[in-house]
Amino acid sequence: MSTYLGLPTFPRAAESSTVDSQLRANLRNATHTIRDKRAAAIGELSDWPELRAHAKAVKDHTLRHLDGYLEQFESAVVAAGGQVHWARDAAEANAIVIALVREAYAADAPPAGGPAWATGVGGSAARPGGAPWAEVVKVKSMATQEIGLNEALEAAGIAAHETDLAELIVQLGGDTPSHILVPAIHRNRAEIREIFRTRMPDAPADLTDEPAVLAAAARTHLRERFLTAKVAVSGANFAVAETGTLVVVESEGNGRMCLTLPETLISIVGIEKLVPTFADLDVFLQLLPRSSTGERMNPYTSMWTGVTPGDGPSAVHVVLVDNGRTGVLADEVGRQALRCIRCSACLNVCPVYERAGGHAYGSVYPGPIGAILTPQLRGTSSALDASLPYASTLCGACYDVCPVAIDIPEVLVHLRGKVARGAGHPVEKAAMGLAGWVLRSPRRLAWAQRWAVRTRRLQPKRLPGALGGWTDTRDLPAVPDESFRDWWLREGAE
């Protein structure tokens, strides 16, 4: 996630979004459309509460026994002719992928033991100019976004081509994704046409903003990549411990092309993606499409287990990535975030996401799930990450739609506690300390209420400092003649 360092805090970034009328319109239209589709698709399931409870239980069980299931998964993949690599963090994962691409492109690769830029060892050293020596086609994957794989590959001289339409739009636009499922949700079709016209060399001259025309242009552009790349990189929606099977769920068929055409397939899989048995997929493949795109079933579900001779890639690699996940697993409240299946239902119902947009979260994981995942994966030492747990009104809409019942408000409050106990804001701490001191004592509270009543005429209509955010757009309530408690003492009691 290195691309996001140095970004403004959530409130500041969100403030710019709120005045961007194009962004607001794009987000409102898109989130409401998907929100309504999801509600209809879930409404068809009479057993949704049971499916949800079951999915939660399966994920919790898997996470509790993750060590055993990971080893079982590794054995199954190896037995099926695949290879498993273990990556502690993003740098290790990227270095593994770069080394595997070197193997696949052995004839074209720069000499082994060469400079840092060509091996991925020792960070992303800048590579001297020149054409890329290898090409990789990519299936849409949050894990590769999380580890900054495209940037690492580029630095090593490898061209990575996103093949999901929305990811392609984001990549061509020199942009970052703003939604888990719909990475270009912040763009409308007129903006997409402009990106294709200016950034896609083989875009037709008469390109219109009709969705079908835009998709056709992307298809022509991508076809060449599918046929030339020797390596594909994917993530996985699920990894089955029992069989070593990986599962990718998608809508466009680009994933199926990547998973079947190139000689080498490398899948970057977060360690929380495991489910114990093949039968467990039954529940998740009902919940995921209905929750994410609002479809009963997604158009393409690809499953593969190691290598099948004469059919598909001849080299199959799985990179299991930790990158902070075992730390999250150690937190008794926060670990439920690892149940997430990246459906993004929480984004589509979140009133804060709808108005702030995904970029304000400064992470590949935006929205409510991002607000609890990012500060756990990255910590809360930066001002941005410390602001994320507060990027919510705790309205609870996210928890209601979550197919694995992650109590996002509970985790947000838990993480706020970590922020408040840390460095925090001295002024806020002092104010909360004073408020707590007053509110713990009926005597002090009554005194403060009488003082507020007596000084009514002196109180400003606009509040100073940080509190001015309230009076910028709202009137303050009038302080009453007397508090309830004083009324009760005077005449309330019978």
Binding site: P351, A356, M432, T473
Partner: protein, 235 residues
Amino acid sequence: MRIALFVTCVNDTLFPGTGKAVVRLLRRLGHTVDFPLQQTCCGQMHHNTGYDALPMVEPFLDTFEGYDAVVVPSASCAAMVREAYPRLAAGDPALAARVAALRVHELSELLVDVLGVTDVGAYFPHTVTYHPTCHSLRGLRVGSRPHTLLSAVRGLKLVDLPAADECCGFGGTFAVKNPAVSAAMCADKVGHVLHTGAEVLVAADNSCLMHVGGALARQRTGVRVLHLAEILAAT
């Protein structure tokens, strides 16, 4: 029935009319209302902002345990006691047992579930729209209880609020920490309220009403906000 009123610190200080309305309403229905004077605050603001609210739990228990029922004219404070207190007390079995024994009800829950009343004999000749606050809707899940109570009020015309289930953007300290998004959410809620043509916006939480009502007043819309208790107490 002897009912204790936990008026909440916000109502106590800024909206005493709501507390008085609860007292008037419950006495009219033939019940005895107690206002234990040692009560202060449930600790919700501290808890939701990340500060320790555990010091508020024991005083609350000392004040309210032993009553047949405790009524709270605020869904969010009732949700704090019912949902967050058990978590705060989880490490201390004795405290957790005391928390579990509390009988705390939001006003509409008390009326419909405990007292079994849906027509409280109120008269309020105005057009009203109801905003289900997040803690009523998704916290306590009070469901249609407020609608049932409002529908029985003489003279009252209840009109549906579009996108009613969307948060108004208050969120406690969120309104100050994220003022831009809070104001953007509030603007949409105000738009929906105006769309109904209602004279009065009613809800079960004065904190949310303070936020939406503050914007309705700033924009001179002429729409006023009232707590559910004040409409049910009107005759």
